[in-house]
């Protein structure tokens, strides 16, 4: 499934979220980091993501993204439980021994997703694409 950034929702802390109906009636949230944030962080070296099963809370950190210049928290847009983690962001390349995070810069909205969360409660205030873009333009 290819995600279009224009149809996604955003937090003011730069996470994007795609909400869909999951079997059993619950909603599934796919979460990643916006292209704007990834560009601002410059060269990324490490992503720390929670293991499947971990409970997360809207507005609270669920992981970390580290660049050569800074470490930033990743904030969950929803209350819920992590059901899947993008292993491409945590598995070292067998040849180099390092995790290749280029996918985050090349394809932040599809291949660069981070976690899938089964929504069990509320959510943060989410912005649509236009509002989020305006926030970024003002910050830039």
């Amino acid at each position: 499934m290819t995600l279009d950034p224009k149809t996604l929702k955003y937090t003011s802390t730069h996470e994007w979220v795609h909400l869909e109906d999951a079997p059993g009636g619950a909603k599934l949230a796919t979460v990643g980091l916006s292209a704007f944030a990834i560009e601002a962080l410059t060269d990324l070296v490490h992503v720390d993501l929670p293991p499947p099963g971990r409970a997360v809370e809207a507005g609270k950190p669920f992981g970390e993204v580290e660049s050569v210049k800074a470490v930033s928290d990743l904030y969950s847009p929803v209350d819920g439980q992590v059901v899947e983690v993008n292993s491409a962001l945590t598995t070292p390349d067998p040849k180099t021994g390092f995790v290749n995070l280029d996918v985050l810069s090349h394809d932040p909205y599809t291949a660069g997703w981070m976690v899938k969360i089964r929504v069990t409660g509320g959510q943060s205030e989410l912005l649509d694409y236009e509002t989020y873009k305006k926030q970024c333009d003002e910050a830039a």
């Binding site: 490490h46 580290e66 660049s67 050569v68 210049k69 800074a70 470490v71 928290d73």
Partner: protein
């Protein structure tokens, strides 16, 4: 020390250059009612000659361990320091440089610290070492915080009572305002009984903090303890004596996850208790929670080997309140001393030092015990330190432990550390440390001093 000139002409010139007429004008923004309006209550200034004499007299009142015969231990040890350590470490490039903040500058310092990290990692059997912390006690506390964070079990920490009492106190201070239960496991037999640990560890436990050899000098069953801790999903934090690693199994090979140590033994004098060297090394999963500086090796754009500060993004000058630690400077100069010491000794040399300590400590224990007046407090294997229990009443001033110690000290012998302050049940006990520097004659003299106090002891002090 630079000589700072500051006479009336200098002061006038300085005032003129900042555009004020007088000292009074300089301080005019301070309201009169807040000013002292009288001279400071201190003695008049001394001339250089008088000041030098005065400081000399004050310094002479010190009673440094290095001029006597030192059987003191408990975290600070009178080990031999080869001359090469001072020769290299007192180069001004090492002495005057502050810990690096620019990631790439000071290549010489970075290389020296990288060598230190490599040696510490090899010595401890860990994957990574940082480039040092303040001292052994703060390293203990930082290691426990790391374990709480990595295991995501911030609620319960176990510590053996055989860990250095000062380290336990530092840990308690670090944890005082966190919502964590710090449980001290009793060690009545001198070491931590695996059954005691088994009963205390649970699925909320972040780690066990143990010391090897422990504060009493006894060798803990580290591998067994590690197994119990890991079975419960907790981590093992081990505080070790780096000299003992010349003989004992590396803590990494015995199951430790984070290894910390007081590095004073590695080429730094006792110097009245500090500054000392905090060693901290860990396994790979703990790396990103490691506080302090870390030097990495890489290549520059021409492919030449070079060094750079690594993982600096987690330090406080970048991450502020979210830093892994806010007390994370390093002891660069003492780390360099440790690197020089370890490189000089080599694995064989370190094994020799450790073996000499072991042999001499066991000779001393036998000499003290054979008279029957003293006996070993614990029936455990020990390395270079041991606890002796006396038959005398330690509280009495006549013939008690303190009296012995005073007599011995008058003869130039620092006979040992009384344990009553930290272990009330060991009030009649002394902790005796024997390094490779102690001679047979000195040990025999200690035995005479402690076991036969009526006989007078001639002065042992070296001039």
């Amino acid at each position: 020390m630079p000589y700072l000139l500051n006479n009336a002409d200098d002061r006038t010139a300085m005032l003129k250059s900042i555009g004020v007429e007088s000292i009074d004008e300089l301080f005019s923004m301070i309201p009169p009612e807040l000013r002292l309006n009288r001279a400071l209550d201190i003695p008049p200034a001394l001339g250089e000659l008088e000041l030098t004499s005065h400081l000399g007299e004050l310094a002479a009142r010190n009673d440094p361990a290095g001029t006597g015969v030192c059987f003191l231990g408990g975290g600070s040890y009178d080990h031999f320091i080869p001359a090469v350590v001072d020769f290299i470490a007192t180069r001004s490039e090492f002495v005057t440089s502050y810990t690096p903040y620019q990631p790439e500058v000071s290549q010489g310092n970075l290389q020296a610290l990288f060598e230190y990290q490599t040696l510490v990692a090899q010595l401890t059997g860990m994957d990574y070492s940082n480039s040092s912390l303040y001292d052994g006690g703060s390293a203990v506390a930082e290691a426990v915080l790391m374990a709480m964070s990595v295991t995501r079990r911030p609620g319960r920490v176990l510590v053996a009572r055989s860990v250095h009492p000062d380290y336990r106190q530092i840990l308690a201070t670090y944890l005082a305002n966190l919502d964590v239960e710090l449980v001290t496991l009793d060690t009545p037999g001198g070491t931590l009984d695996p059954q005691t640990l088994r009963a205390a560890v649970n699925d909320k436990t972040a780690c066990l903090l143990m010391q090897q050899p422990n504060f009493f000098g006894c060798v803990e069953k580290m591998q067994t303890l590690a197994g119990i801790v890991h079975e419960a999903g907790a981590s093992l934090v081990a505080s070790v004596d780096p000299i003992s690693l010349g003989l004992l199994k590396r803590p990494g090979d015995a199951g430790a996850d984070i290894v910390v140590a007081e590095g004073q033994s590695l080429g730094t004098p006792m110097q009245f208790g500090g500054p000392y060297l905090g060693i901290l090394a860990c396994r790979e999963p703990f790396l990103r929670r490691m506080p302090g500086r870390l030097v990495g090796q890489t290549v520059d754009r021409r492919g030449r080997r070079c060094w750079v500060l690594t993982l600096q993004t987690r330090e406080q000058h970048i991450r502020r309140d979210k830093a892994t630690s806010n007390i994370c400077t390093n002891q660069a100069l003492l780390a360099v001393r440790a690197a020089i010491y370890l490189a000089t000794m080599g694995p064989g040399g370190l094994a020799d030092v450790a073996n000499l300590c072991l042999q001499k400590a066991h000779y001393a224990a036998w000499r003290l015990a054979e008279t029957g007046r003293l006996k070993l407090a614990f029936d455990q294997p020990f390395f270079k330190e041991f606890v002796v229990r006396s038959s005398f009443d330690a509280r009495s001033t006549d013939g008690g432990a303190n009296d012995f110690l005073a007599k011995a000290q008058a003869a130039g012998i620092f006979a040992g550390l009384p344990l009553g302050r930290c272990y009330p049940e060991l009030e009649d006990c002394l902790l005796v440390a024997v390094t490779e520097k102690r001679t047979k004659a000195e040990i025999d003299c200690l035995a005479q001093c402690l076991c036969d106090p009526l006989q007078s002891i001639g002065p042992q002090r070296r001039e």
